[in-house]
């Protein structure tokens, strides 16, 4: 059975269903992370003077800067993967999707070293209010990265490629929805980086 409005746009919305769906999902994600940013502001206002700055100084700015560059690169390679499909170049799509996967893996590896270096210095979420919100925000963001990697792997591995051969436009639209999600994950990190590491 064919999924309706996966290629042609609906008359009432002017959009394909997957695009409208992913944007509504992203709107809910804005509220999810917004709630936690709101908690961060509240906790920072209520903390003793200098407390957040003291704990933030224990984080590694160079590692986070590299991670920011890695995530920005992954966003570019993701949009290039989608553009390659628009240009009907599937081999380039595979290449760019592979680069995006590598960047995601690198981000998680750097995050792993960041977390373990904190644990080795007896710094845990229970150590301070700052560390509690730091691990909550970056942990939730990390889970989003892992979720994106699962979907990316689905499109990268051969079992989804039949759709490209049968309905290339449908496949392209699915990759566009994945790309929108991935750029949102990048966007969240763009705010997390200065808020947690630099302020």
């Amino acid at each position: 059975m064919e999924i309706p409005y996966s290629i042609e746009e609906r008359e009432d919305t002017g959009l394909i269903n997957s695009k409208l769906g992913i944007w509504i999902f992203l709107a809910s994600e804005v509220m999810l992370f917004g709630g936690l940013f709101s908690a961060y502001i509240f906790l920072r206002l209520a903390a003793p003077p200098g407390d957040f700055e003291y704990w933030a100084s224990k984080l590694s700015v160079p590692m986070a800067t590299v991670n920011t560059m890695v995530l920005i690169s992954s966003s570019v390679s993701m949009v290039m993967a989608w553009a390659s499909l628009k240009l009907k170049d599937f081999s380039k799509f595979k290449m760019y999707m592979g680069i995006t996967l590598l960047c995601s893996a690198l981000f998680m590896v750097i995050k792993y070293f960041e977390y373990t270096s904190k644990f080795s210095h007896d710094i845990f979420p229970s150590s301070s209010t700052f560390m509690a919100i730091y691990f909550t925000l970056t942990g939730l963001h990390g889970i989003h990265i892992l979720g994106g990697v699962v979907v990316m792997l689905y499109f990268y591995l051969p079992f989804s490629h039949q759709l490209w051969h049968d309905q290339p436009e449908h496949f392209t639209n699915r990759v566009e929805a994945l790309g929108l999600y991935w750029h949102f994950v990048d966007l969240v990190w763009i705010f997390l980086f200065p808020v947690l590491y630099l302020l």
Binding site: L15, M31, L187
Partner: protein, 109 residues
């Protein structure tokens, strides 16, 4: 993305993506350098959030194609932004109100 999907248009998009990538990389370096400036906490927060907002606008505008997106999506996002700011500022309202503060009882004659 809404609009022209011709090969030339996509190649023009790719050129823009590369320019945005460069801008994002430069802004990331500026964010880190700005954190070394000797300014007050409120000025540092203001500066960092301005740079982050510019970077976020570039990602949302060009990578997520919001710059040429349909009005339906724009209106959903405007509604989201409205409620987002309400949620962000709720703690400030709570922080500045007087609920829970002990006020000595004064007899009314």
């Amino acid at each position: 993305m809404s609009g022209d999907n011709s090969k030339e248009a996509i190649q023009e998009h790719i050129r823009v993506y590369m320019m945005v990538f460069g801008a994002l990389a430069v802004l990331t370096v500026i964010t880190v350098l700005a954190s070394f400036l000797k300014v007050s906490t409120s000025e540092a927060i203001f500066l960092a959030l301005i740079i982050a907002s510019v970077k976020a606008s570039l990602v949302a505008g060009y990578f997520m194609h919001l710059i040429s997106e349909k009005s339906m999506i724009i209106s959903i996002l405007l509604l989201t932004v409205f409620f987002f700011f309400i949620m962000i500022f709720l703690p400030l309202i709570s922080y500045t109100d007087s609920a829970g503060v002990h006020v000595p009882w004064v007899s009314i004659k």
